[in-house]
């Protein structure tokens, strides 16, 4: 369970199921009746204006956010308030954050080996071998002994991807992984994500990188005000969006590029 070799190609088995999920922050309703099924191997791109609930949605999947109504199942495990199911789901789901969130007091290598050693009880030697292999795959092995602050933003984000992969996840969640990066570093991170997609990883990406969406997404989902407004394959989504809000959003975002 240490690498992508176990990720199965797209099949009809839903890996993630969200049913009628509602979430409130106090009085504010952040998510309304979210229904989503993601098959193994599928790549989903989530987009929408800021505050539309897209980050909140993916953060519900690994229980970084609690939701008030509905059900979420990952790999057949129903995410409940029972800590056992939360841990089980988190072992299957890797997450990459906008601000990298690397552990600043640990080296790149230690960042990658900590969770496999603690959560999967992997031996140090095995965890390091896995980490080095995955750091090599995101092309940053030569930085293994450095601390995060010594790396550029793009390098840090690639380390964050490798760190998540070290747990051997079946699904990867990306929460605006390139939004905090300088423009010249966006490509190296996107290239890493494309490579990961090509290897068959199941992915849900919150991103405004529409080039990436065209290239790898099986489905693009547009959210606004906490609801899923529209979902379609990228070719349909970009050329022939059906909702007014989608058209307006695409007009704004594509105009920028």
């Amino acid at each position: 369970m240490t690498s992508l070799e176990h990720a199965s190609p797209a099949t009809e088995t839903p890996m993630i199921v969200m049913e009628h999920v509602d979430k409130w922050y106090g009085e504010f309703k952040a998510l309304t009746d979210i229904n989503l099924a993601v098959r193994a191997g599928e790549k989903i791109v989530l987009c929408g204006p800021s505050g539309s609930g897209k980050s909140t949605l993916i953060r519900c999947i690994n229980h970084l956010e609690i939701y008030q109504k509905g059900a979420i199942r990952v790999e057949g495990i129903t995410l409940g308030s029972d800590p056992g199911t939360i841990d089980a789901v988190r072992r299957e789901v890797g997450m990459v954050f906008q601000n990298f969130n690397l552990f600043p007091h640990l080296t790149v290598l230690e960042n990658c080996t900590l969770a496999p050693m603690r959560s999967l009880r992997m031996s140090k030697a095995k965890a390091e071998a896995t980490a080095r292999r995955l750091l090599d795959r995101v092309k940053i092995l030569e930085q293994a002994e450095k601390y995060p602050a010594q790396l550029s933003g793009g390098q840090q984000q690639r380390v964050a991807i490798a760190r998540a992969l070290c747990m051997g996840p079946k699904v990867m969640l990306f929460d605006e992984p390139t939004s905090a990066l300088d423009p010249e570093m966006v490509k190296e991170v996107l290239d890493t994500m494309v490579a990961l997609a090509e290897e068959g990883m199941t992915m849900i990406c919150v991103t405004h990188e529409m080039g990436f969406a065209r290239q790898v997404a099986d489905r693009v989902i547009f959210m606004a005000s906490g609801e899923i407004v529209e979902e379609a394959p990228p070719e349909v989504f970009f050329s022939n969006p059906s909702h007014e809000r989608t058209k307006k959003f695409l007009g704004e975002i594509l105009h920028r590029h």
Binding site: G94, M95, N101, L114, R118, S119
Partner: protein, 213 residues
């Protein structure tokens, strides 16, 4: 001032060091518990420890030592002066260190906890491997500062008849009538304990800063 008097001061110094060490070690362990309870997200624990901290920060150390020493005696629990004083310092230090470390734990960015959770690290590992090492660095100046305060605060133990450095000083001074010399030496001995500690703290800070820059 003769050699005997000086040795008497050194014996007092020994007790000051001993008392500081106990207060810091026991207070540190208890204080860690207080800090963790204070940040646990469990309302009962948070309220109880908040009350504990308020009580010990809001009353003089001198009064706390009185209460432990005489109060426990009144309740029929006769303790050696040094045990009572050690308990008093532990309670005092745990409240202050608990509050210092609570602040430091909360100063570690939220994203660190989220990343640790997303990697399915459980509470113990999240704290031990991710949050506390970062919190320790953040808290270092305040922690060292408190330790220095604690060393100097041990002089209050004199009040319950415990002969540490300051009391040893006044005893010697009363015998030989050279208060300036005696208290000059006593002050120098305190300085010799506290100053290296401050230097060491500054050194650790710059080393941590170098490691993460």
């Amino acid at each position: 001032m003769g050699l005997n008097e000086f040795i008497f001061l050194l014996v007092g110094l020994k007790w000051t060091v001993f008392l500081s060490a106990i207060g810091f070690a026991c207070g540190g362990i208890t204080g860690l518990g207080v800090a963790l309870a204070r940040t646990s997200g469990i309302p009962v624990l948070e309220r109880v420890t908040a009350g504990y901290i308020a009580l010990f920060q809001g009353t003089p150390l001198l009064m706390q030592l009185f209460v432990v020493y005489y109060g426990l005696a009144l309740m029929g629990l006769r303790l050696d002066a040094w045990v009572a004083v050690a308990i008093g310092f532990t309670l005092h230090a745990s409240a202050y260190l608990g509050e210092i470390w609570r602040g430091a734990i909360e100063a570690v960015p939220r994203g660190q906890t989220e990343a640790a959770k997303a990697l399915s690290l459980k509470y113990v590992s999240r704290m031990k491997d991710v949050i506390l090492p970062q919190a320790l660095r953040i808290s270092l100046p305040a922690t060292i500062g408190f330790l220095v305060q604690l060393i100097k605060g041990t002089s209050l133990a004199a009040i319950v008849g415990f002969t540490e450095l300051a009391r040893a000083g006044s005893i010697v001074s009363n015998q030989i009538f050279e208060p300036l010399t005696v208290f000059g030496i006593v002050g120098a001995l305190y300085f010799a304990m506290c100053w290296p500690l401050s230097l060491y703290g500054a050194h650790l800070e710059s080393r941590f800063a170098a490691a993460t820059r």
